[in-house]
Symmetry: D3
Subunit: 283 residues, 6 copies
C-alpha cells in the first residue's frame, strides 16, 4: 500500500436553484460541511477555500453559470485511492442539500437520508439533473494564452471560470485551439486567459478542460462572449451532437451539462484552513 | 478632556449601483478599507464585521434594499467627540467609491479626489442622491416583539433589517406601535422581530428606528411584507408627506431615502478583527 | 438607558456527576455553548476561558470539589442590567445538560426542554440540588495574603480555588480573617494565597468570598487542608448552623452547597476568544 | 540523499503515574515541548494535536490504560531517516519528565540530565518499566469493521484506542481476525470499530496493531470489554506466553507492556499548529 | 472600590546599550515578557505592540535616541490604581534586563535579583542613569500641526517620536508653541506633525510632551532637525538650566534625560495580542 | 508532466544599501510582497519566514554581511520546473526594490518597470553588482560539526549564517574540511556549527555551501572570526584567484560576491503563513 505525492487543485461549482435556499445552503456549508471537511482532510489538504459566485450577468444562464460558490481544494494525495478509503467518521450530506444545489429534483417528496460524500459527488447528470462538477487539475495552470505578468495593481478582475465537456474530445480540442483561443486572445476585453486539462483518473470527471478568463467587468464579458460571438459559425462537432451542443450560438454546448462555470472576483470568501472560527451568528 | 465609555453598535448599508462595480467595491472594502480601519480603531472597537447582502427579492427595490453589504461596528467610545478628532493617518476613500455605492452620481465626470471619512459619511441625500446610512444604536436591542429564545437550531434565518425615517416622528412612532408592530407580530411568517431607536447625537443620523425581522426565506417575506400589506391603509402621516412617503402601498416611505435596508443571513462574511489576513488573491 | 463600564471577572464551577456524561458535556460545551456564547457576548467580553478540573484528591469531596471545568469570563458591563436584556437569539441549554452537571436530578424522567440562560443559571439549591455557582468578583484580586511576586519560573502550581457561603456573614468573615487566613498563611505548603469578596448585586450569587491558594501538588494540599486542620476547633458560627455547616472537621461548611470549588492548574484548556476554531473531530 | 514522501500518522500514549505530577507534566508539555516541537518540525508535519485521557474506567488498569494524553502527529516524511538526522537545536527532555510518565522509576535518586529525543523515545520496557509507545500507522485507517458513515450528529463518542503486541504475531493476528473482531462487531455497544497495522520500520515500534472502538460511554465499554468477555476462553497463544499474556481474562496480554491504550473523546485538547499561542497563565 | 474607564495609550522606549545584548534582550522581550504581560493584562488592554527602532541616524545620539524598540499599550483602565494592585503572579524582570537597557550600570557586579514591574519601571534617572520612559497619553493625538489626511498611499514614513521634559514647563511649552512648532511646520521635509501632553497622574512620568513627526527618510530628518536648526538661538529657559539643557544646539535638552525618543517605521514588529504564537526558534 | 515531492529550504539574504531605503524596503516586503507570495505559493510552501539582520559588527563588511533580512522558505516542490511555470498573476517587483537591495546601481536614472520574479532573482553579479542570493538546501542540515543538543535553555544565540562560492570547488571544499572546520570547531567561542551543500539544479545558484555558527554575541564572533584568524595563511586556491579571493585575511573571498551572509538571532521577525494579518499601521 503506497501513498503517492500527487499535488492537485480541484474545483467544485455549487449552484443554488432558488433564493429560498441560499441562506440554508450557506448554513450547511459553513456550519456543517467546513468542520466535517477540516476534521477529515486537514493532514493532506494545503488550501481549502470558498469563492462566492457573482450575480449571473445577462445571458449568463446559457453558459451553465452556477449561483452559489466555487469550492477549491489543494490536495497532496489523491483521496480516491484505496489506501485513503476508510474514514473515521462520515460527512453530513443530507439529500436536501443536493436539492438546493440542483443535483436532484426540487420536490418535497425526496427521502430524508444522509448521503456519503461519494454518493453525493456522483449525483446528477445520470438522473437527468445537471452533473456535480468536481474537476481535478494540475496545481498550476498548464496553458497561458494571454496576460502573463498582470498584477493585483492592474485592477480587480471579473473572472470567468468554467469547465467544458466536448461531445468529441479530439474535434473539440482542435476547435478550442484553432478557433476559441485565437478569438478570445484577440478580444481587447480579455485581460488574462489560462487553461488546463482536467484529470479523468481521479474522480472520473467527464469534463475535458478548465478555462479562466479575466475581464474588467460583466459588460466587457458580454461584449466579448455574447455580442462578439454572434457570428461565430457553429462548429461541425457541435452540429454533429445536437443533444450535447444544442445552442445555435456560442458556446453551442448544452448549458449546465457540457459547459458549467461561474463568475468570480479575485478574493476568497473564506480561506477555511486559516480563517474558520466556527459558525458564529449575528447578534 | 474626557473619554466616556459609551458602548454602541453601528450599522452601515453599502449599496452597489451597477454590477460593473461589485468586484471593484469589494476590492476597495477588503484591500484598502479594512486595513485602514483596523489600523485606526483597533484600540476602541470590539467587533467589526461585514455581512453580504442577499439578492434583492421581488419588489424589494421599493423597500430601499441595498445590494452590497452591511458593515457593523461595536464601539467603546463615540468616535465623533473632540478628543477623538485627530487621527495619525487618513483613510483612503476615493470619490469613485461613493459613486459605486450610489452616494454620488454614476458619471465619469467626477473629480478624482480622496475624501476624508467624515466627508464620505455625510455624502448623499443633500445632493439629491440617497443618504449614506450610518446608524448608531444601543449595544443590545431595545424592543423584543416576537420570537425571543429562538436558537440556531431552529433553522437558518432570512433577516430583513432596515432603518426608518418618519416625516413626523411622533405620528410615525405611534403608527409603528399601533399598526406596524401588531401586524407583523401577527403574521405567521415572522419568526423574530426586534427593534431599537437610533441615536441622533452621534453622527447626526436622521433615521429614527432600526428594525429586524426574521423569516424562513424570501417567499415568506413576500407573503408578509408585500402580499399581506396590500390592503393596509396609507396612514395619515404618509398622506400628509407625499415627498417622503410617496408610495401608495406599504412601506409608503420614499425608498432608499426614508426606508433603507438589506436582506441578510445569520453569518458574517468576514469578522474582520479576528479573521482578516490581508488581501490575498485566487491563484 | 445607560451602559455602565463595570469590569468584572466571573467564575463558574461546572460539575460532571457521572463519567458516562463527561464526553457529552464536553461536546455541549465546545460544540454548542462556545459558539452561542461568542456570538452573544464578543462585543463586551474581553476574556472567555475554560480550565479543566484536575482529578479530585483524597477527601476532596468534602470540600465541594466539582469535576468538569471552571469557566471564566471578563466582562466590561453587567450583562444582567435591563439595557442588556434583549438578545437576538437564545442559547441552547437543554435540561439534560444541567442533569450532567448535577443541577437537576440524574433521572431519565426529565422533560426535554431548552432552558434560557437565566433559568439555567438560577437552577439548583432551591430544588434540593447543589447550586449553580456563578460568582462575579472584581477584575483583580482584592486581598493578597501570601506569596506576592511568585513567577511562572517558580514552578507549576496546583491551585485550589473555591467559594464560601457563610451561614452568618459577619461571624464567618471574622473567623476567616482571624483563624482561616493566619492558619493557611502559616502553612509551609501554601505558596500563594489571595481572595476577593463576591458581588451580590450582579446575578444574586449567595456566596460571600472567593479564595485561591497555590500548592506544589495534591499531597501538599492534603497536608495543609486535611491533616493540618484535624485539630482546628469547629467555630461557633458552624456549631450554630448545623444544616449549612454539618461537618465536624474543616471546612465545616456543607459540601457543594456552602463550599464549592475546584483544583486547577495554571493553564487554560481553551482561551475561547482567541483559540476557538469550531468543533473539529479526531479522524 | 533523498527525501521520500511518506505520509504517516503517529500515536503516543503519555502516562501520569502520580497526581502529584499531572500539572508539572502539563507544564512541560505545553510550555516546553510544544514550542520545541513546532520549531523543529513545522516544515514537514501537517497536524500535531494533544488529546486528553479520560479518567480510567473500572478495571481499565488491566488494559494498559494511560492517564495523561495521546499525542498525535501527521508526518510528510519519516523523521528517522539519515537525511533528517541533524537538527539545529535539541529538545528539552529532562529525565524527570520520563519519571512522571512512568518510563523510568519514580524515585528521587534519578540523575538530572537532558535526554535527546531519541533516547527518550527508546526508554522503558528494556529497563523493566513500561515501554514508551510511539506507533506510526498509515494516514487513514486500514480496516473498517463496523459503523462506517457514523457522523458527529450521531452523538459524542467514548473512544477506546489501544495498541497490541502479540507474543506470536501470526497466532495473535489470526485470533484477532477470528475471535476478537467478530466478538466486538457483534456487541451492540460498539458503534464504530477500525484498525491498522503498525509500521515497524519507522522507529522500531514493537507493537503490531492499533485498534479503535467507539462506545456511548464507559458503562457500555464495561459491558462489552469486561462483562461480555468473562467467558471468552484464553487463547492458546496466550497460554503459551505467560509472561506476555499473564491475565486469565480478556485482554489476556500483559497490561501496559503488551496492551497499552487510552480512553478519549472526539475532540483535541489542543491542535497545536493552529491553536498554540504560547504558555499563558491564569491571572 | 471603583474601576474607572480611562482609555489611554502608553509609550515605552527600550534602549540596548551594547550590541552584545541585543539578541538577549529580544529573547527576554519575546520569550519571557510577552507571555507574562498577556497573561496579566489581556482583560483590560486592547492593543499591545512592539515597534523596532530604526538605526540611529547621524547626530541622533544627541536627541536621546534609544536603540531597541518602542513598546505600545492601549489600556482601558489605569493599572496603577489601588483596585488593580494585586496580581496573581509576578512578572520576570531580572536586573540584568535593566542593565541591557541602560537603566542600571553596565557592570558585572550587579546582584542577581528579580524586580517587580514597579521597581523596574521606576529605575533610572534617580540613580544617575537615564530614566525609564513610560509615558501615558490620551488614546488619540491632541494636537495636529501639519499633514492631516496623509494616507498609507502617500508613502512609507520615517517617524521621529520623542518625549520632552522641560526644566521649566511654562517657559518650555511657550517656546514649543511659539518657536518649535512654527519651525517644523515650515520645514518642507516635515510631512506630518502631531503632539500630546503626557499624563503625570498615572505612573508619575516626569516628561511633559510626546511629539511625532514624519519624514521621507533620515536624510530629510537631518536636514530639518540638525542642519536647519544650526542657527536656532538657545532659548532663555535652556540657558537658565544648564544641567537639564546643556547642549548649545537644538534640541538643547540633556540627551536621554530631558529628550528621549526613537526613529520608527509605520509598522509594528509584533502586534502581540493578535500575532504572538509563543517563542519559536529558527531550525 | 509530473510533480516531484522535493522538500527544500531556501535562503535569501536581502541587503539595504542606504538607510534612506530601509522603511521603504520594509513596506514593500510586508505590504506588497508577502500577500503576493502567500497568494502564489500557499499550496506548496510549508514555512515562509523573515528574520531581521542584526547590525553589522566591526569588520563585518569584509564578510559580505547584508543588512535587511533573511527570507526563508520551505518548499514541497521545485517551483522552477516546467509544470510550475504558469502563474495566474505576477508579483510586484519594481526595479527600485532591487536598487534598495543593491542588486542594481543606486542611481535615479533607473527605468520604472515591474520585473517578474525570475528576472529579479537573476539580477546582480552579471551586471557588476553583487548577486541576488537564493540558495536551496536540504530541509535539514547535512553536517553537524559542533554543539549538537544545544537547547533554547542554553541561551540566546548570535547566529552567523553565510554562503560560500569557491573559485575552485574541489580545492575550496578540501580547505573547508581540513582548515576551516577544525579551526572553528576548536574555537571556544563557537557554540554550534552546522553546514550543507547548496543545490545547483534549482535556480542555478552559484554558491557551494551554506554555513551557520552560533556565538554568544558579536564580541565572541569577532574574537573567533577576525582576531583568531589573523595568522591563518591565505590558502593556495585563494592566491590563485585574486579576483574572487582578493582579501589578504580570512575569509579571503571577495566580500558580497563570493561570501555573503548575515548575523541573525534565533527568532523570526514574522512567520508569514501563520502571523501575517495584512499591512497595518501605527496610529
Amino acid at each position: 500500500m503506497a501513498f503517492e505525492y500527487r499535488p492537485m487543485r480541484s474545483i467544485i461549482y455549487v449552484d443554488c436553484v432558488r433564493e429560498e435556499y441560499r441562506h440554508r445552503l450557506q448554513h450547511w456549508l459553513y456550519a456543517i460541511h467546513v468542520p466535517d471537511s477540516i476534521s477529515k482532510f486537514a493532514p493532506y489538504v494545503t488550501k481549502y477555500a470558498f469563492y462566492n459566485a457573482l450575480p449571473t450577468p445577462p445571458e449568463g444562464e446559457r453558459f451553465g453559470t452556477r449561483r452559489m460558490q466555487m469550492t477549491e481544494h489543494y490536495w497532496m494525495v489523491n483521496e480516491m485511492t484505496p489506501e485513503m478509503h476508510v474514514n473515521a467518521f462520515g460527512e453530513r450530506m443530507p439529500l436536501e442539500v443536493l436539492r438546493w444545489q440542483g443535483m436532484v429534483p426540487d420536490v418535497d417528496t425526496l427521502p430524508v437520508v444522509n448521503l456519503d460524500g461519494d454518493a453525493a459527488r456522483s449525483s446528477g447528470g445520470d438522473n437527468g439533473m445537471p452533473p456535480f462538477v468536481f474537476a481535478h487539475v494540475p496545481m498550476n495552470w498548464q496553458e497561458d494564452y494571454k496576460g502573463a505578468g498582470r498584477t493585483v495593481d492592474d485592477g480587480p478582475n471579473y473572472r470567468w471560470q468554467f469547465v467544458l465537456r466536448w461531445p468529441d474530445e479530439e474535434a473539440g480540442e482542435k476547435w478550442f485551439n484553432e478557433v476559441f483561443v485565437p478569438y478570445f486572445v484577440g478580444r481587447p476585453e480579455v485581460n488574462r486567459f489560462v487553461s488546463s486539462k482536467i484529470y479523468h483518473d481521479v474522480v472520473g470527471c467527464q469534463f475535458h478542460r478548465l478555462v479562466e478568463m479575466w475581464f474588467d467587468g460583466p459588460e466587457e464579458w458580454y461584449a466579448a462572449a455574447v455580442e462578439g460571438t454572434k457570428d461565430m459559425p457553429k462548429p461541425q462537432w457541435a452540429v454533429d451532437a445536437p443533444e450535447e451542443a444544442p445552442q445555435a450560438q456560442f458556446p453551442f454546448l448544452k448549458s449546465n451539462f457540457n459547459i458549467v462555470g461561474m463568475f468570480l472576483s479575485d478574493m476568497a470568501a473564506s480561506d477555511n484552513l486559516t480563517q474558520y472560527r466556527g459558525y458564529l451568528q449575528m447578534r
